[in-house]
Symmetry: C2
Subunit: 485 residues, 2 copies
Amino acid sequence: MLAQSEQQQSRQPLYEEVAGRISFLIKQGTLRPGDRVPSIRKLSKQMQVSINTVKEAYSQLEDRRLLEARPQSGYYVRARLPELPTEPVLDRPTLSPAEVSMDNIYQLVMRDLLDPKLLQLGIAVPNPELLPIEKLNRMLTRETRRFALQSVSYDLPPGNLRLRQQVAQRLLLSGCTLSPEQIVTTSGCVEAVVLALQVLCKPGDVVAIESPVYFNFLQLIEDLGLKALEIPASPRGGISLEALEFALDRNRGEVKACIVITNFNNPLGSLMSDENKLKLVQLLERHKVPLIEDDIYGDLSFSDKRPSVAKSFDKTGNVLLCSSISKTLAPGYRVGWIAAGRYQEKIERSKMLANVATPTPTQLAIAEFLANGGYEHHLRSIRRVYTRQTAQMADAIGRCFPAGTRVSQPQGGFLLWVEMPEPIDSLKLYEQSKQVGITIAPGQLFSVEGKYRNCVRLNAAFWDPCVEAAIETLGRLAKSQLQIS
Amino acid sequence: MLAQSEQQQSRQPLYEEVAGRISFLIKQGTLRPGDRVPSIRKLSKQMQVSINTVKEAYSQLEDRRLLEARPQSGYYVRARLPELPTEPVLDRPTLSPAEVSMDNIYQLVMRDLLDPKLLQLGIAVPNPELLPIEKLNRMLTRETRRFALQSVSYDLPPGNLRLRQQVAQRLLLSGCTLSPEQIVTTSGCVEAVVLALQVLCKPGDVVAIESPVYFNFLQLIEDLGLKALEIPASPRGGISLEALEFALDRNRGEVKACIVITNFNNPLGSLMSDENKLKLVQLLERHKVPLIEDDIYGDLSFSDKRPSVAKSFDKTGNVLLCSSISKTLAPGYRVGWIAAGRYQEKIERSKMLANVATPTPTQLAIAEFLANGGYEHHLRSIRRVYTRQTAQMADAIGRCFPAGTRVSQPQGGFLLWVEMPEPIDSLKLYEQSKQVGITIAPGQLFSVEGKYRNCVRLNAAFWDPCVEAAIETLGRLAKSQLQIS
């Protein structure tokens, strides 16, 4: 379409012309957030311009945050919202350990999360329709028949060997070379983190955590009589290493563990770069503080690239890597693991004391699924859905929430972190929305210091007209708070 | 055979004559420990004496501890050994709380318990050949198909409703009237006890336990930073209520929980009477000390009578009853429960923090087994085997161990507590027997105060020529220690 002469006439570089067309299609709504734009080759043919021109145009659109590149997958339209700041807000970091006591909010919210009558946008569960239920149950049947005697017997820590072999193999994709002997199976990822905290800390000790932080960690810290040291984190790159270093220096010797969700963080969706993972590992090693790394969302990248884990940079056994299949295969199977580095032996003992062993039948089934179930294929298909739905929900938030609302742009997982204008109280929004049958995770849950009053975490694993209407309702309720205040 | 005239000639009462014959058959070895003797009706016919005469004879043999009556089942030959004293030995009770630190022995033993090359007489596992493997796995298949979506989803605390309904129904047999809402499912009985300790105690608190005590409890107490207060217990009736009362008075306000295995205790095999269960509940209620009752062996009575639980006497919610199907159906399924009384809500929260939920598939299968699997029929058959084998092993110990050895005479379960002559060191015996491929549970594991040096716990769930030979070997090794010393 565009001829060389036209470009010269318009005095606009050709790539800008191309970028302008795509940008127009986005603004007009023809291309919607989450949509894939034509491939470079295809657009070059369509618009009769060189491949390099299209590349230049897409690169410009990336810089303007209208498109995003996903390795080996192509370019996609980004959500139209103003994004959250890419750096953590350091306006009031206390960087002092705090006793945790937030039982009331937690109890309140947990009770509602159990209520099947409410639309659950607050709990971080995967969409069960995307789980390979039949295949899993078939494997459960086959494997318990194949290993009949074993299936009813204790598979004492470190746990089922075949499962540990499969986990060790998959960990190669995250950059780790571990043997099955370096892994302990657990009843899910939370149990792995609990065992790590129990082995590393005694009451009164300080644990460094990200802020905002997955609220279960706060409850665990409270229950174990520990103190939380909140380190600011950004929705783009995760925990602030500068703040962590400062805090470790200031609380020298007191910090006994540091918990970080390195990939597609809950709640922020952040992804740490390899460079920062390496720095994190080195920093903690230098301060003799073990790292509890939670990688439960690591398999849910929106691109085809499986991110590395911090554990892959661990040379001294200082990193305890925790994960599970609860977000990808079957939360109800409760199968997880921990690669505990130099704490392997203590974790095995601690696991045995906690509940003797992880149940055998579900371990057998998951081992078989990882070996012969087409796990990679399954991941590709659910990642596509979560990519699309996360963009769709972010888009709906942009349309329905009060002006000034900002939302995270995760590169994996299925969670969105929404920052509303300051006057809005998310605990009040939680109460209001519960009245109309919707639950959300109010920001206050994610900090001991009363931060994130105007934030909520939403689950984008579900997307249908019902959920879309719920987002509209939430937006209306949030706006009504602004009108009153 | 015996005519009235003969009796008059011998001037011996007729019933003594009958008792003498049976006693002769036992001493001669025709009737062996665990054998059932002829029924009263049958013997009365055979010997042509009245029913009352046989009754009188059997009653005399019972008093002489040669026979034992099992309700609705008949009379059985008892083990020939000198029994352990029926009252606890109170020679050196300290009745002061002690810090627990016995990691070394525990680590040592636990590692060996994992070794499949060793004959395991030390670990308290049921015989897998007696487990209904095929039926369980069939139910696992059927139920996960029937509740497909549910099977992969979280069944958040309090856990699977159908399982809780079944447990509540079965608890009627133990004298408890509880609703499913008063039960939380767990990953086995140990987890139930852990959750109870976590909810009831904070570091530094004192826990009253039986002595000797199931060693995992000691490890748990150590791990949670608690102190253990050992209360003497007898192999017949269990914990000494007098000693417990004295200790509670002396440590007023410091004791925050009391753990008791009321039925077919591990390791002693003791069975508390209903009267003592009631007294125990009242005593602890008076002192405001919650009772953690472990009833894991309760379904394994050698008689047809299912004993009550202390929980059945609980009027205030002060008893937390813990149990599981690990000794009767499938240890590897890791399905247990806790009826937590007034601590129900806290236990639910604590369970969620520990590992979110108990795995769903195994809960579904066990619920179905309890509902339609013929659990009572299954129990009858395994109880018969354990009754016989426990007597057989006790008999073999009597034949092979050094003179002066005494052994418990449990009325249920499958464990034997063996007290050897004083000079014998069971940790040394443990080391010696490991050299020849046998592991035992040395007495030192069962106390923080270094007691039970000359005791071992043995598992009678397995009985075959191999195990019989192992008992001979153990006896020889024990005797060799006496010769050296």
